[in-house]
Point group: C2
Chain length 405, copies 2
């Protein structure tokens, strides 16, 4: 979200211009000014800064309409690299991307489970080194690490503000400790927002859409012209904790009938475990995310009990998606997160059906539901890109990134 003061003028300009240069491969300053609506002076200033950073260089000239030749700008994808890690208790996924957002290495990391944060951070640091090795990227060329995870969180301090999965995680200096262990700056970001930034990065063109993200929990994000909606403390869009049933069960968060506790992957697994025949038939009893994927595959294969559980969950997600669209007024909803790995199309179709029949402004514009190009990587990619975004958005080119001391 672009705020009215402070961050307004220079800040998102750099990220937006860099996105455009990436998208168009070879583009003149005049074209960039036209595409953004920014003045030539502002564009010249932004381009100079991107060249100074080494992110952009001149790649040739083009003569248009017999006028003076225009110098064309291109991205230097090898100018720097970013690491992204998306994690919750049940799963973790890491990527190394270049400045163009291309994935050079990816790896499933051991899930934190209920282990101490210090232990998990050490493990993350080892895997970061291994991923950089496999991508043949020198740590000195890495801009930083972006941790995409659940909220509430304090992005400025790089800490989680919730005792999940255990009390020790609440306020633990997550970013600072990982920065210390790797020698790299570390930023944290909401996982669903990161997924939105990842989807935007994979798509290239700036666009506006909502993301519904499901891993262990359900979250959401809203991207407007390529930039995330943030609210006052970047702790909004908690779609998993909106009530879809005012008379439903009390959730740990204090609310009643929360989407997460009624329809999230863990709720689906809990319900399946309550049906002993089903649980035994599907061989359940691993971690919830693995069990959820098993239920999903069984539903696809035609198991009626598994299908009933998934359908009920997808219906509730559809109702929550209608709420999201009726409140944020977007024309597209993208599903992301590893819970959608196999079962994504079932959720996509159910959510689309609900939106088609219930969205308030459906006679003004339609709303399309898509699966992210890579449901299980989008948030990790977005986490990596957040490191770059934070750098470009901070006046001193370093805010919201906790550097090693």
């Amino acid at each position: 979200m672009l705020r009215s003061f402070g961050s307004e003028s220079r800040v998102p300009t750099l990220a937006a211009v860099l996105d455009l240069i990436r998208e168009r491969s070879a583009v003149s300053r005049v074209e960039l000014a036209e595409a953004t609506g920014l003045t030539q002076a502002t564009m010249t200033h932004a381009v100079r800064k991107l060249i100074t950073l080494g992110f952009v260089h001149e790649v040739g000239t083009a003569r248009s309409n017999g006028g003076t030749p225009r110098r064309l700008l291109g991205l230097r994808p090898e100018a720097c690299y970013m690491v992204g890690i998306q994690f919750d208790s049940f799963a973790a996924m890491g990527v190394v991307v270049d400045l163009a957002g291309r994935v050079l290495a990816q790896q499933a990391l051991p899930a934190p489970g209920e282990r101490q944060p210090a232990e998990v951070v050490v493990e993350f640091a080892e895997h970061v080194r291994a991923m950089l090795d496999s991508a043949a990227v020198a740590p000195s060329d890495v801009l930083g690490i972006g941790l995409a995870t659940y909220g509430p969180q304090d992005r400025d301090q790089g800490v989680l503000l919730t005792p999940q999965p255990t009390r020790e995680w609440l306020g633990y200096p997550l970013a600072a400790t990982l920065a210390e262990a790797t020698g790299l700056p570390v930023a944290i970001e909401n996982d669903a927002t990161a997924a939105g930034i990842g989807v935007h990065t994979l798509a290239g063109a700036p666009s506006s859409f909502a993301v519904v993200f499901m891993s262990g929990g359900i979250g959401s994000g809203v991207i407007l012209d390529g930039f995330p909606y943030r609210g006052v403390t970047s702790n909004g869009l908690e779609l998993g904790h909106i009530s879809v049933d005012a008379f439903g069960p009390r959730c740990d968060c204090g609310n009643r009938g929360c989407l997460d506790s009624v329809a999230g992957s863990i709720a689906v697994v809990d319900r399946a475990l309550g049906d002993r025949a089903l649980a035994s038939r599907l061989g359940l009893g691993s971690d919830p995310l693995t069990d959820f994927k098993r239920i999903g595959r069984a539903a696809i294969a035609g198991d009626p009990d598994a299908a009933a559980l998934i359908d009920a969950s997808a219906q509730m997600m559809g109702i929550a998606a209608v709420t999201l669209v009726n409140l944020f007024d977007v024309g597209r909803v993208v599903l992301a997160g590893s819970a959608f790995t196999d079962i994504g199309p079932i959720y996509r179709d159910a959510v689309q059906e609900l939106l088609d029949e219930s969205v308030f402004m459906r006679h003004v514009h339609n709303v399309r539901v898509d699966l992210a190009d890579d449901v299980s990587l989008a948030a990790a990619i977005g986490g990596a890109v957040v490191v770059l975004r934070n750098l470009l958005e901070s006046p001193n080119l370093g805010g919201r990134v906790v550097s090693p001391s």
Copy 2:
């Protein structure tokens, strides 16, 4: 919502600077630049434009810390006037405000009911003339008329995109016809968003908050640093049409268990009318908004049946307010709209209680619920201010205002 391109740089700057000058009464360019984080050059440019428009003038000099004297800027409240009309089928309220947002005239207008739009527009035009007379404002000094009403709507075309209250209203050239009838430019705006702009105007300082608006229907708005969140077509924040009960009754909009159909003023009245003893005791049978206010006053006076209806409605509104806060992450919710005239404190306390026990980020920051300073006027005042905002936000100083041909 400030978008990343086009409207980004100049546009909200003018409105934001004008707001600051209004708030501080006499302020130097240096202070304005400091308060906004804008550069001195941008501020000089913005101030020059506001002086050219006649909205701002120099009101003296001040010497600070022994430096060179700084010229102080002040608002010219009499530079221009705006008319605002908030209406739905059941009620209409008009105001004349000056450039400082002060109300010079206010009047309850006849409600449209189910009459033809052409008839209602003629009536509105007559009342605009009468209000300007009573405020002693010449039409030539009026910037325009802002119509704050329900959605979906097309702000650019100045038409409603819904067959409410009758089919004839769908696509009727509302703004153009009223412009023709009055000789004044006309803008339309969502009523809840207008209420948010009105609350911001009455408060002075830029701030971030959500509005829950209730008249005949329920809507909402989100104001961030003084500017409304808009989404892609300005048709978001339809709080009345989010589901609070996935298993609830089907609403006309297609969704199930909508807040409006479960807890809105009309739903409360319908339930009261179903209880013959209560309906007769309270003398119900007028228009729904009048009946709702009667039920509210009976609840305050201790009628247990009326109190039960109001409490149930307030509980559901609280659940929807939790959704609004969990998604938009704001620290304040303001209740506005004439339905809150007497019963406001009951709703305020119920919503506050729900937020205190259920908001997801309540351990990060608290969320306060307030009644608007003037629940029944806020949207009309905001509608008037929208005319000014649209002028300042348009590159050609005229966009989104439909002028008489």
